[in-house]
Structures are given as C-alpha cells and as structure tokens.
C-alpha cells in the first residue's frame, strides 16, 4: 500500500524545453500558421464542394445527402472476395443503421457545414484547438469507414495543431479570443468582469493580449 501511495503521490512532470518551445512558444507561431492554413484550406475545399456547386450534397432540388448515402452503402458493402472497406463490425452496423433510417438527409448537412466550419475556423485561427480536434474527429471517422486518401496526413497535422492550441492561433483570432474568453479552468477577462459585476484594474490588465 505504501508503495502504491509513493508511486501515485501528486507530482507534476514538466515537459522538456523542446516540447515547450514547439507547442507553447509564440516564436514558432508562423510555422503553426502555415500548418493551420494548409489544413484549413483542405477542409474548406472539401466542405465548399459539398455546400456549393453542381456536385453539392445539400440544398439540392431532390432529396439531400444522396452522395453520402452512396458512400455509406459502398463502405458497408461486403465484397464476395477480399476484405471489406470497414474493419470493425460495430462501425459497419452504425453506418448501416444510419443508412436504413435515412439519416443521410440531415447528416449530409452536418458533414458539409462541419467541414466548411472547421476550414474557416482554422484559417482565421479562431478556437484553433477545438477546430483541429473537430477535423481530427472527421478524419478518424473517414478512416474507420475505409477511406484513406489524405486523411492520415490531415489527422496527424490536426493532432499536432491541437497539441499546440495555445500558439497555433497566435497569428489569428485566438490572439484576442483566448485572453478575452479564457478557458474552463481560467476564465477570461469578459467572464471575470461579468462575475464581479465590474472591471477591476486586474481584469482590465488581463484584457490586453497575452504576451510571451
């Protein structure tokens, strides 16, 4: 018991300097900007083609989401020879359930608008970490559905950006959003002002953008 207590006593393990430089120092914000723009543009391209244009998924004259239905049916099919596109049975059942219940009508809107939103948020650098996680979640689902394409590369870039959420949006809207809104564990200047009912000198000081 004493061994367990000693092993799991509260202690904070500090990240090495290199890790903090890459993921927490604004010096490398320009590199994160390039990664963010690349990833954001890929999502914007994918989403915009589903929202606008002749091959769009939504707001079409007929029922919405028919291309998504075709994708799901293709993914859930089991070929006579060779391996099926989906490895996990539970995921195949999940997609089959959604196909049988015609969920592709509204799910096409979720995917089309979700991809576009992830792209725009990454490009303007607003809520960068959450946007990157949203993109990674989409990549994860496409990979589970057996669609590799550029998804593995986008998935890794998205995870790296999510790790660097503090500085990835520094050359972007997060430069002002994060100090104002804060985080769940550290409310920003707006919420501190709301909580106290007035802006104290401390909250006014925190309204200034974070400095390195």
């Amino acid at each position: 018991m004493a061994i367990l207590q000693k092993a799991f006593q509260p202690r904070e393990l500090r990240d090495p300097g290199t890790f903090r430089l890459i993921f927490g120092n604004t010096v490398l914000a320009p590199l994160w900007l390039l990664a963010r723009l690349y990833l954001g543009y890929q999502w914007l391209l994918a989403g915009s083609h589903k929202v606008w244009g002749s091959g769009r998924w939504i707001a079409v004259p007929g029922p919405d989401g028919l291309p998504l239905k075709a994708f799901w049916e293709n993914a859930t099919g089991i070929p006579a020879q060779g391996r099926p596109a989906i490895t996990y049975d539970w995921y195949r059942h999940f997609l089959t359930f959604m196909t049988n219940h015609a969920w592709y009508h509204w799910f096409a809107w979720v995917i089309a608008l979700g991809e576009t939103a992830v792209g725009v948020l990454l490009i303007v650098g607003a809520f960068t970490g959450l946007a990157a996680l949203g993109g990674a979640f989409l990549n994860f689902n496409f990979l589970l559905a057996g669609s590799a394409s550029i998804n593995p590369v986008l998935f890794v870039i998205a995870l790296l950006i999510a790790f660097g959420w503090k500085t990835a949006g520094w050359i972007g809207l997060d430069r002002w959003l994060l100090p104002a809104l804060g985080t769940p564990w550290q409310p920003g200047s707006i919420f501190e002002g709301v909580r106290t009912g007035r802006h104290t000198p401390a909250t006014r000081a925190r309204r200034r953008p974070l400095t390195a």
């Binding site: 723009l37 690349y38 543009y41 725009v120 490009i123 303007v124 002002w176 309204r207």
Partner: protein, 60 residues
C-alpha cells in the same frame, strides 16, 4: 465610440479573411496549392496587422 469602431474594424478584417479563403477555394480549388496560399496568407497578415495596430493604439 472609438473602441467600438476599432472592434468592428477588427471583426471586418477577419471576416474578410474568411471571404478571401472561400473565394479562393471556390475559384482556384486544388489546381494550384501554391497560388492558393498567397492570397489567404496575405489576407491573414493584413488582418493580424490591423488587429495589432488597433490593440496597441486603442485598447492599450
């Protein structure tokens, strides 16, 4: 009043970035991955510079 105008200018600048990116995506698409980068990067740089100027001159 001055702060409101500055805030609106900042919001407009970043809305312009989103518009530029969308226009590039719809018109250039994936035909040229380098060419698409330039206008989007330039728009981000301009918006960020506006934000920095406004922050330093109006809010600090």
């Amino acid at each position: 009043m001055k702060r409101t105008v500055a805030l609106l200018a900042g919001i407009a600048a970043w809305a312009a970035v989103a518009s530029v990116a969308l226009l590039v995506a719809l018109n250039i698409g994936d035909r040229n991955q380098v060419l698409m980068f330039l206008p989007v990067l330039a728009a981000v740089a301009v918006a960020w510079a506006i934000g920095e100027l406004v922050t330093n001159h109006v809010f600090n």
